[in-house]
Symmetry: C2
Subunit: 425 residues, 2 copies
Amino acid sequence: MSHKTHCKLKFSSKLITSVCALTLLGACASFDADLEFDTKKSAARQLHDQFIVMDTHLDTPANLAQPGFDITERHDPILDYSQVDLPRMIEGGLDGGFWVIYTQQRSLTDIGYQTARDHAIQRAIAIQRMLAAHPEHFEMATKASDAQRIKDSGKRIVYQSIENSYPLGEDISLLRTFYNFGVRMIGPVHFANNQFADSGTDISGPKWGGLSPLGEELVKEANRLGMIIDASHAHDLAFDDMVELSATPIILSHSGTKALYDHPRNLDDERLKTLAATGGVIQMNALGAYLKELRQFPARQKAYAELRKESEAIGSNPTPEQFQMLLDKRRQIDAEFPADMADFEDFIEQLLYALKLIGPDHVGIGADWDGGGGVVGMRDIAAFPLITERLLKEGYSKEDLAKIWGGNVIRLMQAAEDHAASLKN
Amino acid sequence: MSHKTHCKLKFSSKLITSVCALTLLGACASFDADLEFDTKKSAARQLHDQFIVMDTHLDTPANLAQPGFDITERHDPILDYSQVDLPRMIEGGLDGGFWVIYTQQRSLTDIGYQTARDHAIQRAIAIQRMLAAHPEHFEMATKASDAQRIKDSGKRIVYQSIENSYPLGEDISLLRTFYNFGVRMIGPVHFANNQFADSGTDISGPKWGGLSPLGEELVKEANRLGMIIDASHAHDLAFDDMVELSATPIILSHSGTKALYDHPRNLDDERLKTLAATGGVIQMNALGAYLKELRQFPARQKAYAELRKESEAIGSNPTPEQFQMLLDKRRQIDAEFPADMADFEDFIEQLLYALKLIGPDHVGIGADWDGGGGVVGMRDIAAFPLITERLLKEGYSKEDLAKIWGGNVIRLMQAAEDHAASLKN
C-alpha cells in the first residue's frame, strides 16, 4: 500500500494531520487541499459503506462515564486518547459492534465480587444512558437481524458484551441480569485466573486446567440464554474447554495469531483451525504489545507507574479538574518518553495470516478500541476504510469483506439465538 | 372551600372539564371561558410556585416502561390512568419527589429473589433512561441540597426510592447497588411479610414480630449509606422496630391516619406522636381504599379479576397492541361498573387531622400517584395547587407549607446524609 493511498480517503483535515504527522512524515501534506478526494468517494470506500461494518471490542463505555465525555462530539486519539465517537464512526464507516462492559479484577471474595457487580451494572447503565440520550444515532441490538435493520435506518448498532465475568461472583443468575440489559456476548476471564476460568496471562499459570466447574455452568447458561462465548484472554486450555463445551460456535472478540508473535493473548495455528472447524471466528486485535515485541523504556514505565498510583489515589470518580490533570500528565509522559508502537502493517500481517490460515468465514475485526488498541497508521476507527482498501488489493472479494466486517459475527449471533430458541420449544 | 375556588386556578380546559364533570356537577361550567383566571395566577398559586413541591411516592417508573409512554407528553387520568408527566408537573407546580422502584412480591426463594432483583434493576434503568433522554427537564437528586438547586435551574427533581426490599433477596450488599443508582429511600416491605419485615396487610399476621434479623441489618446498612427508612406498608410492630433502630428519623412515604379510618395501612395516634417525637414525617396518601370504607361491587371485582388473569397471561412485556387491548378493556369495565371512590375532602380530612395531631414539621404529601392514588377532585398531580389553597384557607402559613411540600423530607434527607458522613469521619 502506498502512502498516497492512505490519504485518498475522505478524512477531515484534522485526522489527516494526525495520521500523516505520525506515520507518513509529511508525505501527505498536499492532500489536505486535494478537493478531488474530498468530494468524491473512492470505489473502495463506496464498497466499505455497503457492508455492515462492526468491531467486536469497543471499550468505549469506559469513556462514557468520564467527566464531560460526549459520544456525539469528535475527540482525538493523540490529545485525549479517545478512539470511538459518532463523528468518527461516520467518517470511518463503522456501523457499530459490541460495546464492552469491562470490569477490572480484584480479590475473588464476596466483597470483591459485589464491588465488581456494582461496577459492571454502572457500565451497563452508561450504555443505556447513551442509548436513551441519542435515540436518533444509536440503537440497541439484541438479535442477529437487528444489525442490518439498524444500519438501514441510519443509526449505529449497539450490541453489548461482558469482558471478564468476574462481576457475576458465584451467582450465575446474574448473567440473566446482564442478558436483560441486552448483553449477548460473554468472556469468562481477563488478565488473571478467576472463579470461571484460567487466564492466558496469569503469571501463576493455570489453576483449573481450563474452565472451572462454575465456568462450565456459565458457558451452559450463556448457551441457554443465547449469548456468544468469547474466549479472548482465556488460557489455551480454557479455549479448548469452551470450544468443546459450547453448543454454538465461539468467538475470540479481540485476539491474534501466535505464529506471528508468541504471546499468550494469541492463538496457535492448531487452535485457530479447531476454531474454524467448529464454525467459530477470530476478530483481529490491534493492540501493539500483542502484535509484536515492543521495546520497553524504564523511564516511561516508571512515569506511568507513578501516574497510575496518583490515579488510584483519586479513585474511580475523579472531578473534571482531577481528570484533566491526569490527562495532562499522561500527555506529558507520552511526549517526554514516547512508546514503541506497532503499526498498520503489523496489524495487517496478523489479519492476512489469519485469513490465509482459516479463510474469510472465520476472521473479523476486534481492534480493542479505547482499551489499548490502535497502531501507528490506524489510531482510531476513522481509519477503518484502510482495511477494506487493503483487503481488496490483496484480492479479497466483496463477499469476503462483508463476512469479515459483520457477516461472521452475525452468523454466530444467529446460531446462539437459534440454539436458545430451540431449547424453548 | 367553595366550588368556585376549586376552579380559580389556572387549569387547562381539559382538566377543568374532567375535574368539574366528576365532582362539581356543572357548577364550574362557566369558568372554562373565565379569562381573568387564565391570564393571572392567584395569590395561592404564586405562593405554591415558590415552594419546593415534592411528592414522596411517584410510582411513575412503572409507566416509563410501558409501550409508547412519553413522560414529556400530556396524558389523562381517566383515559389512560396516567397521573404524572412533565406537562402536568408544570401545571400542578410539582417540582418532583421520590420516583419509586416498586417490585411485586412472589416466593421468598432464590429464584423469586433473582427475578425480582432483575425487575428492580430494570425499573432503575427506566429512571436512568428518562434522565438521560431529557436532561433539560429532569435531574437526578441524591443530596438534600440538590432539591433547591434543581428547582432553581428550572428542572424537575428526581430522588429515587425502593418500595419493597424483596428484590434484595438475602444479599444486603445489593442495597449499595441501588444506592449507586441514586436511590435514597428504602421501604423494607409491601403487601405481604417478607425476609426483612412484617407487612401491615399480610392476612397471615406478623411472622417476625416486626423486623427480621435481616431487616435489622437492612436498616443499619441504609443508615450507613445515608438513606431514609420508609415504614409505609410495614406492620405496626415493624414500624416500632424501625423507629427504635434507625439512627435518623424515618418516613411514612405514603400512609394515613388510623383515627379517621381503621386500616392497617394507616397509623394510630400514639405511633404518629412517636414518629413526630423522633423527628419523623408522615406523607399523606390519597389512595381511596385507605381513606375510608368504600363500597365493593362484585360484578366489578369479577371483571377486574378476569382482566388481571388476562394481563398475567400476556406477561410483563406486552406488545403495544396487547397493551392497548388491556387498556380498552379496563376502560370498558370502569364505564360499565364504576368504582366507589373517595374524594378530595376525604383526603383533606386525613391531611388536616395529621397536621393538627403532630404539626406541620411532621406531615407532607405522598399521594401514591400511578400506584393507586388519586381521588375525585384530585385525579392527578395537576390538582396539587388545590392543597396549597386549602391549607392557606385553613390558616397554615407560608412557612408551614414550605415544610409540608418539601422542607420536611429534605430535612430527613439531610439527617440521613449527615449521619452517613459522620460514620466516615
